[in-house]
Assembly symmetry: D2
């Protein structure tokens, strides 16, 4: 049997969340979000984030991102994002679809993060006038695609630049819990207090069946979202089952406990692999992802021992030392981490 470290989307449902779905199944409920669970969800998010906000549950991260970006970006607008961002590389033009033709502008940046100066320069170079896509939104990913987190100060620096030009700051928080657990800060500090206007709040990778929430801090951006969600077919008739997942996810700190567990396993992996000769962990491990460059032979040996890693594209990389991504999750067994590291050491010793 293969032990999977390729992604956290191979995980199933956390038992507590599954039980919440079962509990929500007792009796009928009004459809389309008019049920009692959904009614109390917004209040729950407001408590967690310590502010007034609007919440729109959806089932996929792509839906959360594309709907968010469409609220803040006109068809002739541009979204500034990292060159490796999910919205740019992995959503099959969903942002363009939902926004009726907006443009994504890729920005380079170390460890998957956009440097404030890079954003500043890109916006300064964007010409005004009707001939050109007009900057409308900045989107950052928390955790980034390199497994790193933006500190609240970093977010705030990005936000200042964006807001100075009237742009909206969106955060793709597909792994927001992992980032938050790594930062050891409060949800508010990592988001609206630092200037985030709208957040794709992910739960699926961290234990839900399929549940994400669009969390809108700048509430004027929420005005059209209910219509956008419905016309995209993302308004569930049995909404209570989305809301129940999110409620259980937030209850008793489950989301952060899950994330802390995953992060600890990632740190253990990074520490163990990084101690081996010839292995480089190339990005800081701020959450549940480890990017390790290693001898091709070692990668094969780990695979042969039954552990799946994700070969990661690295333009200009050395084929003899391929890059591998390892992702841990809320249910990663520490014994599997140990076993992978033992297998790696055996190979090095051989």
């Amino acid at each position: 049997m293969t032990v999977n470290f390729r992604s956290d989307n191979v995980t199933g449902i956390h038992p507590v969340i599954l039980r919440a779905i079962e509990a929500a199944n007792a009796g009928p409920a009004l459809p389309y979000g008019n049920d009692e669970i959904t009614a109390r969800l917004e209040k729950r998010f407001a408590e967690v984030f310590e502010t007034d906000l609007a919440v729109f549950p959806v089932a996929t991260g792509t839906a959360a991102n594309a709907l968010s970006l469409a609220t803040s970006t006109p068809p002739w607008g541009a979204v500034y994002c990292h060159a490796e961002s999910h919205i740019l590389l992995d959503e099959c033009n969903a942002p363009e679809f939902y926004s009726a033709g907006a443009r994504l502008v890729p920005l380079e940046g170390e460890h998957g993060r956009i440097a404030p100066a890079t954003l500043e320069a890109a916006l300064a170079a964007a010409p005004p006038g009707v001939h050109h896509a007009q900057p409308a939104t900045v989107s950052i990913t928390q955790l980034s695609e390199c497994g790193t987190a933006y500190t609240p100060e970093h977010v705030a620096a990005i936000a200042r630049i964006a807001h100075a030009r009237g742009l909206v700051l969106h955060m793709d928080g597909s792994r927001f819990a992992n980032a938050l657990a790594g930062l050891s800060c409060k949800p508010a500090e990592a988001t609206w207090r630092a200037g985030v206007d709208i957040l794709s709040f992910g739960a699926t990778k961290n234990g839900a069946l399929a549940a994400e929430a669009i969390v809108v801090f700048r509430k004027d951006l929420a005005e059209t979202l209910a219509f956008r969600r419905k016309r995209a077919g993302h308004l569930f008739s049995k909404m209570r089952f989305l809301s129940a997942q999110l409620e259980a996810y937030l209850a008793d700190g489950l989301w952060l406990a899950n994330a802390r567990h995953a992060n600890a396993q990632a740190r253990a992996l990074a520490k163990g692999l990084g101690a081996l000769n010839g292995v480089s962990v190339i990005h800081p491990v701020d959450g549940n992802e480890v990017f390790a460059q290693m001898p091709a032979g070692l990668a094969r040996a780990i695979a042969a021992a039954g552990f799946a890693m994700e070969p990661w594209s690295q333009p200009g990389g050395d084929p003899a030392r391929p890059l591998q991504r390892l992702v841990t999750a809320f249910n990663t067994d520490p014994k599997h981490v140990d076993a992978l590291l033992q297998a790696a050491k055996r190979r090095k010793a051989a």
Copy 2:
């Protein structure tokens, strides 16, 4: 406590389907439909429909419909549908969104069904040429919005007209199981053998948490669907949980058993109500919906007795005899049907 006869979307999850979700939760699985459950789903549908086909699970009926219509209708095309159809009245322009601007053309028709002659006349009146929306798709609803079913012969007559002009025939089967149970025919007879090219196969209303399937009989229409689904944010990472619902739904005839139960309750309601003075059941009850015109006082008495019906808009209707929709479901308690009828009779006797 109110007993709900307003809609079948207030129901929860059938226990067998919930158990299938739990069973699918054992261990990791490849994401995005590369899991084993999804792998065997298409084969299962092919058996049920006795033909080669392609299947795309999604989570909402609006998604299934809008994606289906977008595969068959260019932006300058037109979809011919009933004037009361869900795609026209209840999906907030989702078909227009997914198709990048196609037009829905409403057709009148008795009991919620399009008469072949009406379709024929409408298509004959559609001018050719670049100035006008070009007919591309016919969409019929099974059960119709009036709770009636299209017989296979009726479908075939529609299909002949559509196909003669190169149009695609889509069936919105949000309550397909109820229609099929009422028709007592095989799935193949009600669909592709009669000329249906693409089917929105509903399961949510009949016992699933949130699961529908786009079933493509004319397989060339399936070529772009995987891309369309992804770019709309309707490709689930933990797809196995959609597929598990559909698999359980089809296993051991659960879908039809559920539908037969619901239909029997609807017939009982219709029989009981129809026997009362002043009550008219205005559409044939072919599935799980009853449309009953009744004295306003009776409607109030039924409500006062704790039974919720859906007041139904009826242009030109008599306010003294409002129209009510009653919908039964897989889990409707026959005792509740009896109780409603008893309450109605008491009122009449009073």
Copy 3:
């Protein structure tokens, strides 16, 4: 040689307008509307309409209409228009394209005009909520597709209903000059004083090469129009040649003189034809269009005499008495009108 009464779009360019194009060709000019002619155009329109406004020249009526509707209608919105309107029947889903998927809702109405009560009833029947297209715009056509004009009072009645619900009132003025000449009122009275918010001001049919203007009275609607026009490819680099047409069109009352001439010819046709036995002019002749029902033999005789009329679709019409549309134009020769009437009379006498 055939004399054309089928449409006013078979006409060429009025000599004065052609000379204005030639005059504008003296020397270089800044592109994209930064030229001097365009600079003074908005002021000229403001004088003509006696109010502050914004003007966006484009080259086709479909562009003017689709851009106008897109500014006032969100993708989940609906445009209420006459069932025979050009935007609905003759623009190949352009409004849906430009609005990213809005819906057109057809309203019946005598002589091509929407009755206030019909609009009121339709809007009252439009359900609120995210499931349904939300009313956003009312579009009326001046001249209507039946050649009739809306009086200022009629427009005002429509506007009151629209504005009471927060809707925008658009006027498709493809033949606005003909309507105005027929009404004998001032441009302001027929438009913004009566409540029109945005006007597609046509010049092409009435003497331009290809020039229309989007005239925005409610200036907040103009904010996005420059971007919308550019991204649709309707911003001309040599804009001065559009502006020069419009300037010449408005100068010295050319537009109204042209319209008055055309209207007089139409009235002469209507009077002459209407006096013949068996001929019915079925709509008031408020502008330059005559709709005449006549014996099929007479229609053939007129055609045989060398006069082209447009056979007009009339659902339920009598094939023995087909409906013909005759359109006059700024350059219609009165002798041709006489000749047609003589030919018709000869036939009747025969």
Copy 4:
């Protein structure tokens, strides 16, 4: 008075083309391209390009490009183009609008041209599968944005790579005549024989009022274009006036004569400026554009002498030696070229 070398879009109409418009104004003509001039236009293009083809006149280059790209690129597709291309930088997301959300992928390349190896590498790096925008079209600009031409061999190398993957090759020929005149090859050699599938054939910059033609060599791509053009509002009712411009443009080699004149002036400018100390002409002058880096003082002196150049953005450029674009046109007066060079020399001597 300022002499304009900023762009060729400040020019007016060539007298021969203006006379053709006047000639087309004699008498009525059928609308929407059913006139005689339009009827013979396709034949004329077929002669010029020595092959069967389809032609769609439109009025702007953005319309020609966006319509072309939309025919070859699905909404989930990608267009590979140069990082400085007009479709990417200067059309306000028109390609995204017309294609319903496709992606433009920028490629770097010397002198404004895409190197075959760069394209090959980019396509090889594009991952297959539903998560990612799928390569659909390659678009090259002839003249490029740096004033350079692609040789037929270069085009063929690009085409081989594109076609090997099933991609369509589009050429943005806004200055196609200038490129062709510079290449001294036949229209066929520069286009379909080298593998171009669809061409935006520009005439506006080279003497027309407003006329471009979409020339489709791979005729299956033409099937939907008539609908796409109409629904975008780019089908002119008085089409004959577009067609007359294009007919005159092609007649008696006017287009190439105009281009040769412009190119000769550009070469004279480049030669004269390049001979001055401190001036670098940084791109080959293959057509009518000169990019000259020059001391800021010299640039100011030229401006002071009454000659307008276009300051050109150059990331990382030296502010002391700004880059200037000079564009010549069909009507550039050689005396103005001499005068500019004299002014430049005077300044150097001073």
